[in-house]
């Protein structure tokens, strides 16, 4: 029954705004879990009648699915209700009392003529309150019109009775006129002339009577047709109004109108055939249907790919616009908002309404059925409110909010719904807002915010199943961290493209990831440091400041890792510096033995190879002061040799060797000059 009620409620919106696409509407898999789409099933009432599936809270109509709990228009209306104060002011109370009085007066068994008149009079009073939206005036007018029609029918009936009397009299007159007068002279049978005159006289007498007879019969028939037409029109109008009340969920009005209908038409005919015939003649889809595309799909995916799209569209008979953003990553994505209106126009709206009316006429066959549905709806709404209050006490806010949303969708105008206190409603609003915020946070991959919201919702709603959103959040966090790690590795190996790609993916999955800024900053800082190190390396290399390169070798090794050419240059520098360092160490070791000349010669040897090394030069300078005679002899020898003073140069070399017999430089100098002096020496 509830499914039928909700189906009936949605027929109007689904037809007038036929394509309000729910989350996953374009994705039948999302709506049906991958099974054959429910809307493809013709069902026992066909696809033209809205069908509510309580299994997944979706409404099927015209091949499309609605999610009644996740509909932007419904949510907006629902939130407005949740923020409204309870309808407890004097006007509200008076209105409710008036409506209850009317219903009481029209209760079967009590609906006397006087009570009907009293109820009819109260309709004017009820329509004065804003909650009524002047519906009672409309009903009053319809009843008044129906009464006028009935009065007119009664008058026609009376007219027909008079006409029947006149026709009977005319028939008698005709019979008498056709029989002839007994006082008229007899005409002989062979007097043809006389016979002819007698016939003419009879026809003349009958002609007037026949005309009156025909006129009476025709008027009677015309009146009958007119009475039937009037009655059908009045019935159809009233039935349509009752159906409208039902469609707009004004169940009290349905019951009141139904009882007035029964009071007016006592023939026992409760069928809606008149309404059905009327709506069947209405144009439907000739002008095309208006479409509202409103998609708010919080769906998250574990394997989405691709980028984002922003777009808009224009319908053939209206305007449309939309925006769709689909951030993606290799493992997590969320689809956002899509809103648009297509083919919106008067014809399309009329066509939609006609379709809706035809649909509901197929669903409901009699006023008794409608009355039963309305009563059932009232009961269901009252029960829904009770259930909501009970669930509030139990702090089961998820179920409570869902029950309230369902109840509101069904009985928005019912007193029990209107009497709910703002404090009670605000709790559902709080849960609803947090839920929407959670969806929004997931949509933009604000995982930190989403996690916080999940915890908040858990605190206010004991029945909230946090496992699903938390699983999504944790998965996304993990995947984002993996991408960050890949980005870090790529940065370390100098793979810039991969690093950027991984960073982008990590950012798409979790844009507000605290580690993202940290790692990103670190990577960029590393890049900056690396670039600076490369510049320093080039500069030091051009200055032949190999010592500085050697002292900062770790920085340059890391910086040149991705530049093979520079890596080779660095390698050579470090190899040379290793030799220098070895020479220094060797010199220092020799010095420790007291062999200052030998230590100096070791330092000098390296210094000649790497003259720019300050440390080596310093060591050599220090050792020079410790072996001054040897050093002076050697330097003098070299100086004289350069001046081609071979004799004195050789003398100095000999002196150097005398100071330090193991001197390689002295030995080499002696050999070199000896060879020059005696080229053919053996």
């Amino acid at each position: 029954m509830k499914a039928v009620l909700i189906s009936v409620f949605f027929f109007c919106a689904a037809a007038a705004w036929p394509q309000n696409v729910p989350p996953g509407a374009g994705d039948s898999k999302a709506a049906t879990g991958g099974a054959r789409p429910g809307q493809m099933n013709e069902g026992f009432i066909g696809r033209d009648v809205p069908h509510f599936d309580p299994g997944n809270d979706t409404m099927a109509y015209d091949g499309k699915l609605w999610n009644i709990n996740d509909n932007r228009l419904f949510r907006a209306r629902f939130e407005k209700y949740l923020n409204a104060a309870a309808a407890t002011d004097a006007a509200d109370v008076a209105y409710r009392e008036t409506m209850e009085k009317i219903m009481d007066l029209l209760t079967p068994g009590k609906a006397t003529k006087q009570n009907q008149d009293a109820a009819f009079a109260l309709l004017k009073k009820a329509s004065q309150y804003k909650d009524d939206a002047n519906l009672c005036t409309t009903l009053s007018d319809a009843i008044y019109s129906a009464q006028n029609t009935l009065a007119q029918v009664e008058k026609l009936k009376r007219d027909n009775a008079l006409w029947e009397k006149q026709r009977a009299q005319a028939e008698w007159n005709n019979e008498v006129a056709a029989g002839g007068s007994l006082l008229a002279p007899k005409v002989a049978k062979d007097d043809s002339f006389g016979q002819e005159n007698q016939k003419l006289a009879r026809d003349a007498r009958v002609a007037t009577v026949k005309r009156k007879l025909s006129e009476a019969g025709q008027t009677i028939e015309n009146n009958k047709v007119r009475m039937a037409s009037l009655e059908l029109t009045a019935k159809g109008y009233l039935q349509a109004l009752i159906m409208q009340f039902f469609a707009t969920r004004r169940f009290q009005h349905v019951i009141i109108a139904n009882r007035f209908y029964r009071a007016l038409y006592t023939d026992g005919d409760n069928s809606l055939d008149v309404f059905k015939k009327m709506v069947d003649t209405l144009p439907t889809k000739d002008a095309g249907q208006a479409k509202i595309n409103a998609e708010f799909d919080p769906k998250v995916s574990g394997e989405a790919k691709g980028g984002g799209v922003v777009g808009g569209g224009t319908g053939s008979n209206g305007t449309g616009g939309g925006a769709r953003y689909a951030p993606s990553g290799q493992s997590f994505s969320a689809q956002g908002l899509k809103l648009g209106v297509q083919n919106l126009g008067i014809e399309s709206m009329v066509g939609g309404a006609a379709t809706a009316a035809q649909a509901i006429s197929k669903l409901i066959n009699s006023l008794s059925q409608l009355d039963g549905l309305a009563n059932e709806a009232i009961r269901d709404v009252n029960e829904g409110i009770e259930a909501y209050k009970f669930l509030l006490e139990k702090k089961e806010m998820k179920s409570a909010t869902e029950r309230l949303a369902e109840t509101f969708a069904l009985g928005e105008f019912m007193p029990s719904v209107r009497l709910l206190s703002r404090e009670d409603k605000r709790r559902a609003l709080d849960f609803s807002q947090k839920g929407n915020a959670l969806l929004a946070a997931l949509e933009v991959n604000d995982l930190t915010g989403a996690e916080k919201l999940v915890k908040e919702i858990q605190q206010i709603a004991g029945d909230f199943d946090a496992s699903k959103p938390l699983a999504k959040i944790e998965t996304a966090k993990t995947v984002s961290s993996m991408h960050l790690a890949k980005a870090r590795n790529a940065a370390a190996s100098g793979n810039k493209d991969v690093m950027e790609s991984e960073l982008r993916t990590a950012a798409e999955i979790w844009p507000r990831n605290p580690a993202l800024a940290e790692v990103g900053g670190m990577i960029f800082s590393q890049s900056d440091l690396q670039q600076r190190a490369i510049t320093d390396f080039d500069q030091l290399l051009s200055q032949k400041n190999f010592r500085q390169i050697f002292d900062d070798k770790m920085r340059f090794i890391a910086a040149t890792a991705m530049f093979p050419e520079k890596q080779e240059q660095l390698r050579k520098v470090l190899d040379d510096m290793a030799l220098v360092e070895a020479a220094i160490i060797r010199a220092q070791e020799v010095e420790k033995r007291g062999d200052f000349a030998g230590a100096w010669e070791s330092a000098e040897s390296a210094s000649r190879q790497f003259p720019g090394d300050n440390k080596l030069n310093q060591v050599r300078a220090d050792l020079t002061t410790k072996a001054p005679d040897f050093v002076r002899a050697l330097k003098q020898a070299e100086a004289q040799e350069k001046k081609n003073q071979l004799g004195s140069s050789l003398a100095w070399y000999l002196k150097a060797r005398k100071n330090y017999p193991a001197s390689d430089y002295a030995r080499q100098g002696i050999e070199r000059i000896s060879t020059q002096l005696l080229p053919d020496a053996k």
């Binding site: 003073q645 004799g647 004195s648 000896s674 002096l677 005696l678 080229p679 053919d680 020496a681």
Partner: protein, 130 residues
């Protein structure tokens, strides 16, 4: 009683005789040495000057007495290159081939008459035992 005058040699005569004797010895020694140095007119080589700047000595002939400390090289056509210790320095001397027949060994002392050539090399002109 009056002291009796002794008839002995006066000590002054002994002193004079000793002085004369010493003078005669020194004179004979001086005469003997001056007479045995055949290059007493040749100047001694100024070793420090040579070490500092041989150019200033280029083309001159000097004599030098020293002890052979080492043989540096030998060529049958050009001669021998030896190192000679002079005072506290060691100087290289090119013993030209004309002295090839002469035995020159480490530790021997010689008096060299030397020519300083254009690149400062000390070339022997004469070698003799001191």
């Amino acid at each position: 009683m009056a002291r009796r005058k002794k008839s002995s040699v006066q000590p002054l005569w002994f002193v004079l005789a000793a002085v004369l004797l010493v003078a005669a010895f020194v004179g004979s020694r001086l005469f003997q040495s001056g007479g045995s140095d055949p290059f007493r007119t040749v100047a001694e080589l100024d070793v420090p000057a040579y070490l500092e700047n041989a150019n200033s000595l280029r083309g001159n002939i000097y004599k030098l007495e020293g002890e052979v400390s080492n043989s540096l090289a030998w060529s049958p056509t050009s001669g021998r290159l030896i190192a000679v210790d002079v005072k506290n320095e060691t100087l290289p001397i090119l013993v030209t081939s004309e002295f090839n027949a002469m035995n020159i060994q480490k530790g021997q002392k010689f008096l060299f008459v030397l020519d300083v050539d254009e690149n400062g090399t000390l070339k022997t002109k004469s070698i003799s035992q001191p």
